[in-house]
Symmetry: C2
């Protein structure tokens, strides 16, 4: 399975494509950072990011896209820009019918380093080692994008199985309620 990981941002948007198999082995296909000028209009910055993502989807044909989920940041303005960039990335993937999954930074860190509170240097080190890269990806946004793709490859089978189990449980609960209602109705009829 091939996954495009995206660490969204207006100033720097990390993109990383990783291939994974049935085991834990992962390999890096491509990694880069898209930059947009801070003095450009917001809409044109978003367009530039969207175009870059479209190009990557065309060139590398990933089967899924993993995007960092932003909860909050110290700087609200930056957080909004990050969310907007993440939105256009998700849209590009959805237009092609690709599944888009959002992972929090701590989910990614936990998957890659074993600790949800790892710092940037630890994430970069582990990503470099896991992918057997000749040098550390830089800046941190590039390493984060690769980390998100790895996180997705490793978590997705479990996540999908969990979602399936939950759907099955909900279906059973629904059937059970219907059966109870039918029994109650029958009991009411018999009592008359």
């Amino acid at each position: 399975m091939r996954v495009l990981g995206v660490d969204p941002g207006l100033t720097r948007c990390g993109l990383g494509v990783v291939d994974g198999g049935s085991g834990r082995a992962v390999s890096c296909v491509a990694v880069d950072v898209v930059r947009t000028p801070a003095d450009a209009a917001l809409a044109s910055r978003l367009l530039r990011i969207a175009d870059a993502v479209e190009e990557w989807l065309d060139r590398y044909r990933p089967e899924a896209v993993a995007v960092e989920r932003v909860f909050s940041q110290h700087n609200v303005r930056t957080a909004m820009g990050t969310a907007q960039a993440g939105g256009v990335v998700a849209l590009g993937a959805a237009r092609r019918g690709l599944p888009v999954v959002f992972h929090t930074p701590s989910e990614m860190k936990a998957a890659v380093t074993g600790s949800g509170r790892a710092d940037k240097a630890q994430v970069t080190d582990m990503v470099t080692r896991l992918l057997g890269l000749p040098e550390k990806p830089s800046p941190a946004d590039a390493a984060d994008a690769l980390g998100l793709a790895i996180c997705h490859l490793w978590r997705e089978p479990m996540r999908a199985r969990l979602a399936e189990a939950e759907a099955r449980a909900a279906e059973l609960a629904k059937k059970h309620r219907a059966r109870l209602a039918a029994a109650a109705k029958q009991a009411k009829g018999a009592a008359r």
Copy 2:
């Protein structure tokens, strides 16, 4: 001039098209609210909003798009969804080369009611009156979208003039600095 105003949101996204002339007269061309189900995947909700906006851009051919700028909200999750929705709206407009301008809620309220702190009911009342609508647009997101379009129509000439004046001042300052540098060089040469 025709403007599409957008009050972005995942649950409800307000869309309003308003025509304006050289004076203050404005008329409503269309208004609606796009809803997306809360249980749908984020990417598919964004796709639905993007598709609706594309359809409106095709059908009504506005010359500019005015989007509400989100700074922060009580609920961070909602704020992020709003920002993501705003991002895909801006992207759709940018893809067609349309100018996209973000206005804060208080800019819109000030333009429409005269007070940046007006409440939802006051905005709805003024929008209804200004556009001579037979009934109040509902829900509030619809009125807000129309308010944003009106705000843009009224503020844009001033905003554009201000931006032009600032660009001219920056150009003059640059020329002035170049002249000073040339004079200093000349003086240095003469002193030798």
